[in-house]
Amino acid sequence: MRKFLIIGFLFLTIIVNGQDKIKIEESDYANQQVEMADVMRDNGKIYVVVGVVTVILVVLLGYLITVDRKVTRLEKRLETSDKNHSA
């Protein structure tokens, strides 16, 4: 009986409501009261930001690829030398 009551009460917790989440509306994309980086978008300077971050990303990714290739080459060398020695 007690177990049944406890489980029953636990199920009641489904209806609990803490904060109500405020949905993001279409108007949130269009309103003009909130300041955003519109000036930067207007005068095209936003592309400087995009460009800077992209360049950094591309260079770092290029470095990752270089290291990856070097490690693959070393692994292959090790495999062939293993084959030669055990042959």
């Binding site: 904060q19 109500d20 993001i24 949130d28 909130v34 936003i46 290291v67 490690v71 070393l74």
Partner: protein, 221 residues
């Protein structure tokens, strides 16, 4: 082996470029307090997703190590912890930066901030533990056990404690100004690929480190 395959690395590169360019240029809701910083969502939050996934993989390797000890398993566990902690540190630092300009201070004593700092400290202790043990087998075994404990401590710290009390973080307790930032479909368009991209990047870095360590071990023999 998966570590050498290229397809997921190419996916990573493409997705990362999409996240950076799209994340900065695509439309976002114009919300008070957040303004344009809402775009940090695509970078700060995936750091944490990435961290949990990396540390989860590390725990998997630690458990496997305890069942069947081998040096390779230990290297895998270690390197995934390395990248996981790196992501965690990046997450905290970017979070502090974001907080300074939206919540008004670098550190607000928010439960999730505190819990993530504690969680990271627990993982820093993992490295101290490894450094303090000389014998390789002992080092691997004890740190595997500690790794499991650390992960089990991290989960309630990050996901349960912050929800039990008031928190500034969205999704936990709450502050009306931030509840408005419920993930909507336009944000999801960049957010989901971001999580995938940053996670794959973490796996790429971890697997590279594993391969290099393995090579070093073979050459040292």
């Amino acid at each position: 082996m998966v570590m050498r395959k290229s397809w997921w690395k190419i996916v990573t590169i493409i997705l990362l470029l999409y996240v950076v360019i799209g994340g900065l240029l695509m439309d976002v809701p114009r919300l008070n307090i957040l303004n344009e910083t809402i775009r940090a969502l695509y970078f700060h939050v995936p750091m944490w997703f990435g961290m949990i996934i990396m540390l989860g993989i590390a725990v998997y390797h630690s458990i496997k190590y305890l069942k069947n000890p081998s040096a390779e398993r230990d290297i895998k566990a270690l390197e995934f912890v390395n990248v996981g902690v790196l992501f965690g540190v990046l997450g905290i630092v970017t979070g502090m930066f974001w907080a300074q300009f939206t919540w008004g201070e670098w550190w607000s004593g928010d439960p999730k901030q505190n819990a993530s700092a504690i969680g990271l400290l627990i993982y820093f202790a993992y490295f101290v533990l490894r450094g303090s043990l000389e014998d390789d087998e002992q080092k691997a075994r004890i740190s595997a056990v500690y790794n499991i404990f650390a992960f089990c401590a991290l989960i309630p710290l990050l996901f349960i404690l912050p929800r039990l009390t008031d928190s500034l973080h969205p999704g936990n307790g709450g502050n009306p100004g931030f509840n408005a930032y419920d993930l909507d479909s336009k944000l999801r368009l960049v957010f989901y690929p971001a999580v995938i991209a940053w996670t794959f990047l973490g796996i790429w870095i971890a697997t590279l480190r594993i391969r290099i360590k393995t090579l070093q071990n073979v050459l040292d023999q």
